[in-house]
Symmetry: C2
Subunit: 269 residues, 2 copies
């Protein structure tokens, strides 16, 4: 190799361009902005009408006799309320409990499928395969092992029970009055079989819509080991693609679900 050949490759502009290329190709995933997709747990947190709600009880708050400040609380809740995950065992006997979900299924690249135009016109809207195909026509095929987040636009109604759930009544009598959008079981089946997604989330209280009585999408997803994130917040702050998602549940041994802390990284570009 002659000196002349070498000199071009060691030219500062060439080296600089290679460094820039390197960062564009494989920028570390922590460069960007974190968005919290979690509703907080408080007395306002939304739960299913026929169960308990979140409670926080004071243990201590104030100066101690030793002269320092101290505060502490205890809390209680059903697993399935607020921003939470459904483990496969919630609707499929013998399947993974929340502590058994592999970490790799709880983080990775995510896409947002926005059906809010239809779902805001019809509280009982069911997301169908055609909605997913329309999204793909615009953004490209949903990659295997993607996390899919369904944006119905109903997240903005949280925590107004009447607007978010369709009713602010409590008890079993309120169940027939639940009205919020969800995923059609055929579309759940398609996402599992045709796109092999790793997990799924939605900005409503349940992946099946409020009028569902047999929970077909829950059952299909659960028996295929797909964790379901429910009551996901702030989906309106995310772009359709280019999202890195982290969704870590409280590690309840044998739990059918658990409170979930879910955050998204969007790149600065």
């Amino acid at each position: 190799m002659s000196k002349k050949q070498r000199s071009f490759c060691y030219h500062p502009l060439f080296i600089l361009s290679m460094i820039i290329t390197s960062f564009v190709i494989c920028k570390p995933t922590t460069a960007g902005q974190w968005i919290d997709l979690t509703h907080d747990f408080s007395s306002e947190t939304v739960y299913w009408p026929n169960g308990d709600t979140f409670k926080k009880d004071l243990i201590y708050d104030g100066e101690t006799e030793k002269g320092y400040y101290y505060s502490a609380y205890s809390f209680s809740a059903p697993e399935h309320g607020g921003t939470h995950v459904d483990a496969p065992v919630h609707f499929a006997k013998g399947r993974r409990s929340v502590d058994q979900i592999p970490i790799d299924q709880l983080l990775g690249d995510a896409v947002i499928i926005d059906v809010s135009e239809n779902a805001l016109k019809n509280r009982d809207y069911l997301i169908i395969v055609d909605d997913l195909k329309k999204w793909e026509a615009q953004y490209g095929k949903i990659q295997e092992q993607s996390i899919v987040l369904l944006k119905t636009g109903h997240g903005k109604f949280w925590p107004d029970l009447k607007k978010y759930m369709g009713t602010d009544k409590r008890g079993n009598a309120a169940i027939p009055d639940l009205h919020f959008p969800g995923l059609h079981p055929n579309a759940a089946e398609w996402l599992v079989k045709e796109r092999r997604i790793k997990s799924i989330g939605i900005d409503t209280a349940s992946i099946d819509n409020g009028q569902s009585s047999h929970f077909g999408s829950h059952r299909i997803l659960s028996r295929n080991d797909v964790p379901i994130f429910e009551n996901v917040a702030n989906l309106d702050q995310l772009p359709a693609t280019g999202i890195f998602l982290i969704a870590l549940p409280m590690k309840i041994k044998g739990g059918s679900g658990a409170p979930l802390r879910i955050v998204a990284l969007i790149s600065d570009e």
Copy 2:
């Protein structure tokens, strides 16, 4: 530029070497192995002797009358037990509650400081500035905004109360019998002021040792807005450096702390 100059830079071997270099320089942070640093929540989970413990209650488990399987539970616990975070307001009045901790303080590059040789010989061991300086002499200066994980080696005793806490007695009478290692307040001050760490964790029940009665390290860290991760698991599975940590707590509004799901990514090399 002559054709000859160009030809070398377009040579397949040169291009291949640049691609390899790119990946070595800036490999995405998700390439590697995830380690779960969280103890699960069960009836065995370790809590302070004078408070409640974790409880899980059955709501339903079995076939429903509609012909599908369903399981669900509710749970209750004090904030400060199991693998959990102390928010600054736990020991510093008016400071951030657990829902107010910025996400950026809950993830990032971490280092493991191993003091197990001393701490396994002395259950009341206090980690001093000299321990931290010795670590730096071997691995380099702790970078600003690092997450520091303190490995006392006592994590392996979980959930054996006598070995892990020093006593299996319950109630206020058991407090004087608590014996486990922790961080000396001078070392907490040094990490905050001299190294400006963003958060800290330990594989024992408390950042102050079992014999502490004034919780000096808690108070210093809390008034400097440093979250504390306690009862961290599996530190023996991590190298000293090259760790990316994610520690996401349950988002309890106004909470002084919360159950924490904490995971680490270690690179494959």
